[in-house]
């Protein structure tokens, strides 16, 4: 290597040494800017978390509301059969007390006011004979309860129920 060739190499080495030795100073306010940027990021992250949390809560509340709307009620099921039987006893007691001819299953058909009650009884009888599922019996027992309710109310007011 000639002297002229060596000179640039030495110069380059000196430059690289110089670059390695130099320690430039960052701007005095750089840390302040970093802190500020961190603050902004933290706030954004917090807002994002809040938004996500809020959306999750809304979704959760909506899901619960939808579930309550569509799912079968969590309230205890009414035993319509037992209720109908209790109401029937109540009706018998009321009629006995008021000396009104007793409304029994046997004379339901004779009284037009209790015709529907007799029809329900017939349908119930058929359903039991055919071993129909409970799901089909419940509406009948429920309707029977409603009819007995109305009949009791009418008897209390001394009215004759012609149509329920």
């Amino acid at each position: 290597m000639t002297r002229t060739d060596a000179q640039p190499i030495e110069t380059v080495n000196a430059i690289l040494q110089c670059i390695g030795d130099a320690q430039p100073q960052p701007p005095a306010d750089l840390w302040t800017r970093i802190e500020a940027a961190h603050g902004v990021r933290s706030r954004r992250r917090r807002l994002r978390r809040l938004a996500v949390g809020g959306m999750f809560c809304v979704a959760l509340v909506s899901a619960v509301a939808l579930h309550r709307l569509h799912a079968p009620s969590a309230a205890p099921e009414i035993d319509w059969q037992a209720r109908a039987q209790a109401l029937e006893l109540q009706l018998l007691a009321l009629e006995h007390e008021n000396r009104v001819p007793v409304t029994t299953s046997a004379n339901f058909d004779a009284d037009p006011a209790t015709g529907e009650l007799a029809e329900i009884d017939r349908r119930l009888q058929v359903a039991y004979e055919h071993n129909n599922p409970v799901g089909q019996l419940v509406p009948l027992w429920k309707r029977r309860s409603e009819l007995l309710d109305a009949l009791i109310a009418a008897r209390r007011e001394g009215l004759t129920l012609t149509r329920i």
């Binding site: 640039p8 690289l16 670059i19 390695g20 130099a22 320690q23 100073q25 750089l30």
Partner: protein
């Protein structure tokens, strides 16, 4: 080097900057999210971090952005620091990675072949004053070549490490370095030929 022409290039020893030992209590406080502890870390390592960022990017604005990015990342990730390597080395690696990520984001530098990369910068444009200024001379190199040269010649990275950082082969790193050095030699030799 014309230090008066570049007031950034003055002062302390960059390499020793990252070699500083940090107290375990400061690290523990930082890992608990204490911003005062981060301020202490910045007071110790902000300068070497900025120095490395500036050498790698050759641009003060980019270097500032890089330091900001590195310290923001540090605040978020310091909990993952287990002390397997000295803290300064960990931070230095983080800075180099951030600088290279910045270069990699700039597709026009990554996708260019070395020949085109060097051809894009005309060495003859450098004036004699710039040829004596180390920082200005580095500016005569394409960004990626400057980063490879600084990492290998100044920061002591191996070609294997540089290749990993850039996602390239070792021979590619060697090629870029050789061309970078050649370019520097040519730039420095030019005024001597003129005189």
């Amino acid at each position: 080097m014309n230090r008066s022409a570049n007031s950034d290039m003055s002062g302390l020893d960059t390499l020793s900057g990252f070699a500083q030992i940090i107290e375990a209590s400061v690290l523990a406080r930082a890992q608990r999210g204490d911003m005062q502890a981060f301020a202490t870390l910045y007071a110790r390592f902000g300068q070497p971090c900025y120095g490395l960022a500036l050498r790698l990017t050759g641009n003060t604005a980019q270097a500032e952005d890089l330091v900001q990015e590195v310290f923001l990342k540090l605040i978020e990730t310091i909990r993952s620091y287990r002390g397997d390597a000295p803290f300064g080395a960990w931070l230095k690696r983080m800075t180099a990675n951030a600088a290279i990520d910045q270069l990699r984001r700039n597709k026009r530098f990554i996708d260019a072949d070395p020949e085109a990369m060097f051809a894009a910068i005309d060495v003859s444009e450098a004036n004699p004053a710039q040829k004596l200024d180390a920082a200005a001379l580095l500016q005569r190199l394409p960004p990626r070549a400057r980063a490879v040269l600084v990492l290998h010649e100044v920061e002591g990275y191996t070609h294997a490490e540089i290749a990993t950082l850039f996602g390239q082969s070792e021979s590619y790193s060697k090629s870029i370095l050789a061309r970078g050095l050649q370019r520097l030699h040519a730039t420095v030799a030019e005024p001597q030929a003129e005189t």
